[in-house]
Amino acid sequence: MSIDRREFLKTMGIAGASLSGVKALGASTPAHEASEFYAILHDITLCEGCQECEFACATANSLPAPADNDYPDSSIKRVLKPDQYSVINAVETSVGEVYTKQQCMHCAQPACASACLTQAMHKTAEGPVTWTEGKCMGCRYCMVSCPFDIPKFEFDNNNPKIGKCQMCFSRLQAGEVPACVENCPAGALTFGKRSDILREAHKRILDDPNGYVDHVYGEFEAGGTSWLNISPVAFDELGFKTNLETKPYPELTKGFLYSVPSVFILWPALLMGLREATKSDEQEGDNHE
């Protein structure tokens, strides 16, 4: 095998193109694109922990409603389940008992969707991250990747589903707001375009700097999410994850993914070259046996 000049230049050209592609693709998404997603604001100062959102969620998604003895209590931590997409927790804090709501955060660039090898987890253009049963293999890589530990898996089912909030995607398509927002009697949930919601969140903090901590949880967490929270106390006191990256999680794998085409082109060339270079004189005469 011999590599002539033309062949060599061609290979280098391809390698160069794949390398320069890294730069172009590696640039982060413009902020205004992400902000056109829908978003929901949970104002923790207004939430009364009445669980109406949980019941509405159960009805909208045909899930079992919370049992009578299953209500927010600061002595227990209620968790998400494959058949419970949203939970309210009571938390005892320095400003008294407050209520937090946990569900899928609908990241602008979700780790789960980039982890999914079948596109069962999918970031829709409207903002919700949806799950498609017919595509899912049940590998649970989305669960491993999700920084918020949201997707839940039916381990006790022989045809298991992944359970998580889908921001009532079918309701959005029908022009309705998510069930939890519609049914919140305290007005703690606000739905709208993300840029508007973000502005509203900052406005509430500015209008009442003593009533809120100056932090919109979800503005930068995991590169920005479609669920935003504002709170009267620091978020680590509420048990929110505060050790998260501020860049999108898929960025963590981009470097590796972009090195793949380069390795795929350079390795075989390098290996064949090495093989030719290390051949002994007698082997050269051989007929490649």
Partner: protein, 409 residues
């Protein structure tokens, strides 16, 4: 010779078919200690697998919502692939660098790699919630191209094919088809180059799987270097497997060995030990750089830190020294001990990254059930059965000439 040709021309299909049927019969006594243990274990595993597919994963496994990957993924897939890394390292040494002295190890290592990958794919299927959808990333409109797992899955599949091609001349020899052997042999170098490229990417890709679990894996094990660390460690994991397995094969299949095979083997494992020691040094060094870079020295004083030191000092640094010392004084026993310790170190490392140090703070902790362990061990047993069947019949450890010479006697 002429008789052979005539019989092949007359009824080649029929005679070959008869030959295969005759080869299917057991060649040695089935009543061995290994069989007495492995057969019941595999039968129990079969029942467990049936239960798993009727009642779901939680009926047999302890995996939780916070630790969704357990023993089957952590050991059979993530660890097993590292152990099977010997095939790409050895084919690189022999076919690319032309180090002919390691050629006797190629066939057995490639066979082992091929079987390992096939059975780990099987373990993966057991673990999947909807295994019938495994076809989705292969065909159709469901390509999740941004997923590391998509990359790993494809590489896994293609590499199984590459290894099959690398091994196919041996099968052709066994079936006595010289023409097929010659044609298949022509594909070897292509399969080798392709296989090494695929291995580089999926060995490191298995590490890259955990890049997005930042904050969920203990800082001592999480690193942006995980792909590189997984790749380097697959080199000494694979070679340690070759050394360790070789020492067992020399004994179990002693009837296939000639007078000089022990001596030849010792020379080869000394060479491989050097490669191991150098790769381990690079690995150890990169780990230290990583600790400096991520300021994780403080964690060494915690219980997880002690566990980390067990892995790094006890099962990387010490076996590395043993390899060096073993080569210097020329003691095969020391080298074999070093290879075994290295293998344990790899199990610790892969299990730590994927299971133990993953959500190390979670309560309750994931501890595999006895049923998960039985299935894990059974997958290895079935793999060994097939491996043994092939070694007894095909020219893997010995050449075709010595086999026919023995048959005539």
């Amino acid at each position: 010779m002429s008789e052979n040709v005539i019989s092949e021309v007359l009824a080649p299909q029929q005679s070959r078919w008869k030959f295969i049927v005759s080869e299917l019969k057991p060649k040695a006594s089935l009543l061995t200690i290994f069989n007495l243990i492995s057969v019941p274990t595999v039968l129990i595993a079969a029942v467990i697998i049936v239960i798993r597919f009727i009642y779901g994963l939680s009926a047999v496994s302890n995996v939780t919502q916070t630790v969704p990957w357990g023993l089957w993924k952590g050991f059979n897939v993530v660890t097993g692939v590292a152990f099977a890394g010997g095939a790409y390292v050895l084919t690189f040494m022999v076919y690319i660098l032309g180090l002919e002295k390691y050629k006797p190890l190629i066939r057995v290592t490639v066979l082992n790699g091929f079987l390992a990958y096939t059975f780990y794919a099987f373990a993966l299927i057991l673990d999947l919630g909807k295994p019938w959808n495994i076809i989705n990333p292969i065909i159709g409109n469901s390509f999740g191209t941004s997923s590391i797992l998509f990359l790993v899955a494809w590489h896994f599949m293609l590499y199984i094919v590459a290894q099959l091609i690398e091994f196919s001349p041996t099968v052709a020899e066994w079936l006595g088809s010289e023409r097929a052997r010659r044609n298949l042999k022509r594909l070897t170098i292509g399969a080798v180059v392709f296989g090494i490229t695929l291995s580089t990417l999926h060995q490191s890709g298995l590490g890259a799987l955990f890049l997005m679990a930042k904050g969920k894996i203990h800082p001592l094990w999480y690193s942006e270097f995980i792909p590189t660390l997984f790749f380097i460690s697959s080199i000494f994991a694979g070679l340690s497997m070759v050394i360790f397995q070789g020492s067992i094969l020399q004994r179990v299949f002693s009837y296939q060995m000639d007078a000089h095979s022990d001596e030849r083997h010792n020379i080869m494992i000394r060479g491989l030990s050097r490669v191991c020691a150098i790769a381990m040094f690079a690995y150890f060094f990169l780990k230290i750089i990583d600790m400096v870079h991520n300021h994780t020295f403080g964690y060494l004083m915690t219980p997880m830190g002690a566990w980390y030191l067990v892995e790094m000092i006890g099962f990387v640094f010490i076996p590395m020294l043993l390899f060096v010392y073993g080569v210097r004084v020329g003691t095969p026993t020391l080298i074999k001990v070093a290879s075994l310790m290295t293998l344990i170190g790899i199990i610790l490392n892969r299990m730590n990254v994927s299971v133990i140090a993953y959500r190390w703070d979670a309560i309750p902790r994931y501890i595999p059930t006895w049923m998960e362990m039985v299935v894990t061990v059974s997958i290895l047993f079935v793999q060994i059965w097939i491996f043994r069947w092939v070694i007894h019949r095909m020219p893997v450890l010995r050449t075709m000439e010595t086999m026919t010479a023995r048959a005539k006697n």
